[in-house]
Subunit: 231 residues, 2 copies
């Protein structure tokens, strides 16, 4: 049986927008593993109660039930050691953890500030109230207020990508000559923006855009083919 991935979806069950789920989708493709996805909604906690927690991504791989994108990548690396490596050894594993923390503390908050209302607007009705109340509590203002000055905020966001931009000036991928999990961690954030919003978080001439394009083309255009609002 193929691996099953519980994958966050919008009103359209084909719209898969979760950045952390995209980390896993790309990791599964990188390993060349057969998998199928199960659309899941924020408020559908009962459907994944068997996993002992309430978040996606979540995979079922034979007897293994594994939530959390980082733990899923570790599981795939350990369970399929003969497939292409996601980390490139212990040093690559440790340094990918830094990339995950940089993405979680810099890139995700930066993207969210720009597309929060767009995410809301494509959710199933049942999820919209949950999303609005939880996010408005977190930000201390309305979704509309959070994104109101995004034309200004995007300048700061692009500046915050300097470490990534400089790296991609020297090498085609974060992990070097070929992409690996470190790339998919960061790419998930841009796929989040692209699937949910028409807002241009990057300029077309940015080396980060060119790297994003290379990952959209990877695995026969897997990420490019998904229903999206952006280019």
């Amino acid at each position: 049986m193929p691996i099953q991935l519980y994958d966050l979806a919008g009103a359209d069950p084909k719209r898969r927008f979760s950045p952390n789920c995209w980390r896993v989708t790309m990791a599964l493709a990188h390993k060349g593993l057969a998998f199928e996805t199960i659309p899941w909604r924020f408020t559908d906690k009962p459907a994944i109660a068997f996993s002992g927690q309430g978040n996606v991504p979540l995979i079922i791989d034979g007897d293994a039930v594994v939530p959390d994108s980082w733990e899923i990548a570790r599981h795939l690396e350990a369970a399929y050691p003969d497939r292409p490596s996601l980390f490139g050894g212990p040093a690559g594993h440790a340094l990918s953890q830094f990339i995950a923390n940089w993405t979680d503390t810099v890139v995700h908050p930066g993207v969210a500030r720009l597309i929060l209302l767009d995410i809301h607007d494509m959710l199933a009705e049942v999820d919209k109230a949950y999303f609005r109340s939880s996010r408005e509590a977190r930000y201390g203002r309305s979704l509309e207020a959070v994104v109101a000055d995004r034309d200004v905020q995007v300048i700061e966001f692009r500046k915050s990508l300097s470490p990534l931009r400089r790296t991609l000036d020297r090498q085609p991928f974060i992990a070097g000559e070929h992409p690996a999990f470190a790339d998919y961690i960061v790419f998930g954030a841009f796929q989040w923006a692209r699937t949910a919003s028409t807002f241009a978080v990057l300029t077309p001439d940015d080396p980060v855009s060119h790297w994003r394009d290379r990952l959209l083309d990877a695995f026969d255009g897997l990420a490019r083919a998904t229903p999206s609002r952006g280019e």
Copy 2:
């Protein structure tokens, strides 16, 4: 003949404060190589003109003359492959490049904002005028004005270390169970602060402080033993 390292020095030739030179000092110790250092001053360009450029760190290793901390690490890794690895393979090498770019664009500017005047004050007289005019041109104001609000700026600086802090919550070193060049890249910035200034850039209970302490203790306390103003 041991490797020679041209190492930036203050008025006291024993005071070695350059963050990029500390990357190299730690890398040489990591490789277990015999080396000696030659104190060098900002304005002493003629002394290193033989290298075809005007900056330190700069090493002479037999016939090889290598400037630039990143290139020096690459040289040491290639020339001494049987010694402990600085990168841990191609993925570690590529991801260490991201760490260098994060350090150069986030950590170094953040530390400089706090200690710029302290650096000036410990320089040899001949370097002080150069340092003041070049840095005041870069910042567009006096050294005194740059550091005037450092008690406030340090709060932002500590926040900017979130990706590092979260990583060190999970593993003892950036490179994993043992330190490697990725650690020395970031450590150099804290050694810069410690050698030049009494200002506390970190709080004692910060996981980043504990990591810094582990690196101060490494190689028989090599970094801890150097003349410093901070703890």
